[in-house]
């Protein structure tokens, strides 16, 4: 019977079912455990610092603990069993606010304690009045609730997941990977060749039309900005600045670049026929929101991978305990597992193409070794967590004071080497390598973000927007992020060297926090990966990554890399453009016989792979690039010379 899907074997269907079960368990397990708090857990984070000699600090700490205990008894936090993380969070918040209010009230009515000097003698002003502590030094701070919340809830968990972490690990990671492989491995039996049948028939990979896509994008962006208001402690400044910049860019593209009123080529499917992709996108977006901003709701996932984290830590450190997982271990493990399973899929899909195979193995290797294993081992050996292939400004906190101090305070020369290596990559590694082979050496051979896009994201590469309008947005946004990263890092270094936390009235801490929130989490994670099924697999790399912007500038102006077009063989079919994950309209150049030099090209080589006429080739040479990349070079019928292939 005619069918709009690829032929699948029974084993492949079994794989899909197993994967679906694993996903279901993975999702449902967040609601399986109960949460029961104990007094010692609750007050532990508020113990006075070891060796604290200032009397009023000791007093305040004891006082905090006491009030938390009383409040907990009143709210029933220590006696009731909470059935969900939401209930647990609510009760914690209630308890904490009661204690917080009482502490504040006490100091307000009783007065603030007098400060003491290093010898313990009371401090006084010149006129003899006592120097008192500040209220923020003695109150119960709100940030402490946020920073302790995840730990509290994690430790309070009881139930099937906490009791059987390995079982759940096998039922989710294990079963999911098994299901994926059962689906993927049989593909190796098919004949090698281009495997794009039905990608635009499949509700998972066919994408959205422009209006639905805009809706998702608007809701997500506005949602992030509104949440950002609360994230920045109810301060409107940064969300407002961001909103204004966004409006300026929209206005520039629509009006200064005349995109307004121009018909866009809406190639999307009708309505919600891409429903499975919408579900997937929503799931990814939800996952990233929880991961970055609500990790207390995913403690079950973290608990599940904790034994593995501890095992790795204890194996390499030789210690008997320690190495509990954080959500970042969970994320790293998921990332790596998905990249390996989907990397195998990528290899099966392009196994007629050696460039794709080698490239895919490369990103799988760099993720497994450099991004995941080596940093974990470093930490076990009491060294700074360091990903040797991550480069500023993608690695935006590389120059943060805690990071630099971490390098400098590492005993031996390793820390210094890390710092030097990071700087070397920025100043020498990037320009040199991009000059020689193009930005692809990083973006589609080494980078973790690129690696995920090329493996897990490959089924959605065709959804990138190829319109001229999208290209205009891209250039403003990605270079805007690069500028933001430079400004933020400049202020960071200024503060580091001068000790001044403020420049032109803007606080370094504030801009760091906002950059981390908006770009590091919101753009790179929620939008960058969450939008794979909605806007293609390189949303972050194309519109947001400041390192890609830097690599791209070098590639555009100072590189040997280009995609050459083969004489006049192009038939304008559009496969190259359709499957370009960066949204480059490759066909525009190919049909003009023009070599392609574009800042955004990550050199994945898929355009050359899907070309049915052998028109495109990724090449490195600076010969004649100016003439070949600048002008239309299709067969010219010139008045003098007749047919000529030379432009």
């Amino acid at each position: 019977m005619p069918s709009k899907s690829t032929n699948k074997s029974a084993i492949q269907y079994l794989g899909l079912v197993l994967f679906a079960i694993a996903l279901l368990i993975f999702t449902a397990m967040l609601g399986l455990d109960n949460y029961k708090f104990t007094e010692s857990q609750l007050i532990a984070p508020f113990a006075p610092a070891e060796g604290e000699t200032v009397y009023w600090k000791q007093e305040a700490a004891t006082f905090h603990q006491a009030h938390l205990k009383i409040a907990a008894e009143e709210t029933g936090l220590l006696t009731e069993t909470m059935r969900s993380t939401f209930a647990a969070e609510k009760k914690l918040k209630e308890t904490y606010s009661i204690a917080q209010a009482r502490v504040k009230e006490f100091y307000e009515t009783e007065g603030l304690p007098q400060d003491v000097d290093e010898e313990g003698n009371p401090k006084t002003n010149e006129d003899g009045t006592p120097v008192t502590a500040q209220i923020w030094q003695v109150e119960l701070p709100s940030w402490k609730l946020e920073s302790e919340r995840t730990g509290w809830i994690k430790n309070a968990a009881t139930g099937p997941v906490s009791d059987n972490p390995w079982l759940f690990f096998l039922l989710t990671f294990g079963l999911g990977a098994l299901g994926g492989l059962l689906y993927i491995i049989p593909k190796f039996t098919a004949k090698p060749g281009i495997k794009n049948d039905h990608i635009f028939h499949n509700p998972l990979t066919r994408g959205l039309d422009l209006s639905w896509r805009s809706l998702f994008l608007t809701f997500t962006t506005v949602g992030i900005l509104v949440y950002g208001f609360y994230y920045m402690d109810d301060k409107l400044f940064w969300p407002a600045v961001t909103g204004v910049i966004a409006l300026v860019i929209i206005a520039l593209v629509l009006f200064a670049h005349n995109s307004f009123g121009r018909d866009a080529r809406d190639a999307g499917p009708e309505g919600l026929s891409g429903w499975l992709g919408i579900l997937a996108g929503t799931y990814f977006i939800g996952f990233y929101v929880l991961l970055y901003w609500a990790s207390h709701h995913i403690v079950a996932w973290v608990a599940m991978v904790s034994p593995l984290s501890e095992g790795v830590y204890q194996f390499f450190s030789g210690k008997e305990s320690g190495g509990e997982a954080s959500q970042w271990f969970l994320y790293g493990l998921m990332y790596t597992t998905i990249m390996i399973v989907m990397g195998i899929r990528m290899i099966s899909k392009y196994r007629h193409n050696k460039y794709q195979i080698i490239r895919t193995i490369s990103v799988m290797f760099f993720q497994l070794a450099f991004a995941f294993m080596i940093p974990e081992i470093l930490v076990a050996l009491n060294k700074p967590w360091y990903d040797f292939k991550n480069i500023w400004p993608l690695d935006y906190d590389f120059f943060f004071s805690w990071s630099i101090d971490g390098f400098l305070n590492t005993p031996g020369s390793l820390g210094l080497f890390m710092l030097g290596w990071g700087i070397f990559l920025i100043i020498v590694g990037v320009p040199l390598m991009v000059h020689l082979v193009g930005k692809r050496w990083y973006c589609s051979w080494v980078c973790g973000c690129g690696g995920l896009a090329e493996t897990m994201g490959d089924p959605w590469r065709q959804l990138s927007d190829k319109s001229l309008r999208a290209w205009k947005f891209e250039r403003y946004i990605i270079h805007g992020v690069l500028v933001a990263a430079i400004v933020m890092t400049g202020m960071t270094l200024y503060t580091y060297f001068t000790g001044t936390g403020e420049l032109f009235g803007i606080q370094t801490g504030g801009i760091q926090k906002w950059y981390g929130f908006l770009i590091g989490a919101g753009f790179a994670g929620v939008v960058g990966t969450g939008f794979y099924p909605l806007m293609g697999n390189r949303v972050w790399c194309r519109f947001g990554c400041p390192l890609a912007a830097y690599l791209g500038l070098v590639q555009r102006f100072q590189s040997r890399f280009r995609i050459t077009t083969n004489g006049s063989q192009c038939i304008s079919c559009g496969n190259c453009s359709t499957h370009c994950e960066m949204g480059i309209d490759v066909r525009h150049y190919a049909q003009r016989g023009q070599d392609i030099v574009r800042a955004s090209c990550v050199g994945c080589g898929v355009c050359a792979a899907v070309c049915p006429r052998g028109v495109l080739r990724l090449e490195n040479s600076s010969e004649d690039v100016a003439t070949r990349a600048e002008t239309e070079r299709v067969i010219h019928i010139s008045e003098e010379g007749g047919v000529s292939l030379m432009g």
Binding site: I194, A267, K354, Y355, N575, G605, V610, E623
Partner: protein, 451 residues
């Protein structure tokens, strides 16, 4: 000046683009009854197979036409009043022109088979053909495709992608052997079968039978075999789509619209280009009608010059073409006759996997290289063309064969194997001097410009 162009295929669109490039003032109207916007006809199959959306087949965004002031008219030209410089449309409207370009393309052949006008019988040339096939696909349990050319294999691949069993009937002894040399032709035949498409060689269609409801239900071959099928694809070539011109007596027709070397028809302000143009005096070695993407494009460019009074002859240069037979890419440069020719020597190397081959043709007498035929391997158009144009000796070519290689990075390079084969056959001891690489290729090409 107002130039009207009938047909928005690659020929018509190229003409429109070059008219605008060369002259800012000329008024251009692009007329099509098929689609609002230009699309790549060669990519029809990818839309059906789900590799691309219909909109992805359009090389230009909708705003392109307005920006370049090319007026689009979706209408059917019923008659050309060549004496009045007037077009008459199906809805009764008319349009005056100063110059007319006929670029109306071709349609699929019907050779008078009984049943050829039944439902569920169709070719694959126009947007409507694609739409029709999409509409009836759910009714097709098995299909028969008749004709072993480029469209035949594409249509078979399309149906196959929808998991419809396909029988591909070809008159010849192996696939497209009137264009491909025997080894390559047999390679493609093997490849088609390896994809589980039932290739029936030496088989011709006799009759298409009605299923009782006015649609195709089965066929019989000339050998009397009856094959059940719910779709019959007719892909036995195409012919110029010129029946609407029959009443315009001033425009001389043959199989297509007769044109001179400047692509001008028998009416001085009417030109014809692309699939529908028939050269009165084709160049040596070329056919009067060449229904090919590339010639359509070259004619479009040429006609723009001629209409603007910059007279140049149409010269398609050294022959080239390309295609993809399921997974095997095919490129040809220069002279590669299917049956060879006296005095033309051939060096044919085939990989042991039977899906990669290189053929180099050269004059037996003086060794000048004449043509290249590539299967599953990509060669540089410009390099091959330069070798042919300059009459380079085959041994010179072989020693520098790497200059031509256009396969992706890390692909195995077979040039040394080809040289070895030549050495074996001739007792020579040539060595491959140049390997794959852009810098060397560009230096080689640049030398051509200076000489």
């Amino acid at each position: 000046m107002h130039v009207a162009i009938i047909g928005n295929g690659i020929a018509g669109v190229t003409a429109a683009r070059w008219l605008r490039k060369l002259d800012d003032a000329v008024r251009i109207t692009l007329i099509s009854a098929e689609t609002e916007f230009h699309f790549s006809r060669t990519a029809l199959m990818y839309s059906y197979m789900g590799h691309m959306r219909w909109e992805d087949l359009m090389p230009y965004e909708p705003f392109f036409w307005e920006k370049n002031r090319i007026d689009l008219v979706k209408n059917y030209v019923e008659k050309v009043h060549e004496k009045d410089n007037k077009l008459e449309f199906a809805d009764g409207k008319t349009m005056l022109y100063d110059n007319l370009i006929i670029a109306c393309g071709s349609q699929w052949n019907k050779f008078g088979w009984p049943g050829q006008d039944l439902d569920r019988v169709g070719g694959m040339v126009s947007a409507q053909d694609l739409q029709y096939l999409e509409e009836i696909t759910d009714e097709i349990k098995t299909a028969v495709v008749v004709g072993g050319g480029l469209i035949g294999i594409e249509l078979a691949e399309m149906l196959h992608s929808r998991q419809i069993p396909v029988k591909l009937l070809i008159r010849e002894a192996s696939y497209w052997n009137n264009a491909l040399p025997p080894e390559e032709s047999r390679m493609v035949s093997r490849h088609i079968r390896s994809h589980h498409i039932d290739l029936r060689e030496n088989t011709e269609l006799d009759t298409i039978h009605d299923d009782g409801n006015g649609a195709a239900g089965s066929i019989t071959t000339k050998d009397g075999e009856k094959i059940d099928c719910q779709f019959v694809g007719l892909t036995a070539g195409v012919s110029p789509n010129v029946s609407f011109l029959k009443s315009s007596e001033g425009i001389e027709l043959g199989r297509g619209v007769k044109v001179d070397n400047h692509l001008r028809t028998s009416v001085s302000n009417i030109y014809a280009i692309g699939d529908c143009a028939e050269a009165r005096t084709p160049r040596p070695g070329r056919r009067p009608i060449e229904a090919i993407w590339y010639t359509g494009r070259m004619m479009g460019e040429t006609v723009a010059y001629n209409i603007l009074g910059r007279s140049i002859e149409y010269d398609p240069g050294i022959w080239f073409n390309s295609a993809k037979f399921m997974d095997i890419e095919y490129q040809v440069y220069g002279e590669v006759p299917a049956k060879g020719r006296d005095g033309l020597a051939t060096l044919y190397w085939e990989h042991e996997d039977g899906e990669h081959a290189v053929r180099i043709n050269y004059e037996e007498s003086d060794g000048t290289v004449k043509g290249f035929n590539l299967m599953g391997i990509r060669y540089r158009h410009e390099v091959c063309e330069k070798w042919i144009k300059e009459g380079t000796h085959v041994e010179q070519v072989l020693q520098n064969l790497g200059l031509a290689n256009f396969d992706p990075e890390f692909y195995k390079q077979y040039e040394a194997d080809v040289v070895d084969l030549y050495n074996q056959q001739t007792g020579k001891a040539l060595e491959l001097k140049t390997r794959r690489g852009l810098s060397a290729a560009l230096r080689f090409l640049r030398k051509a410009v200076s000489t």
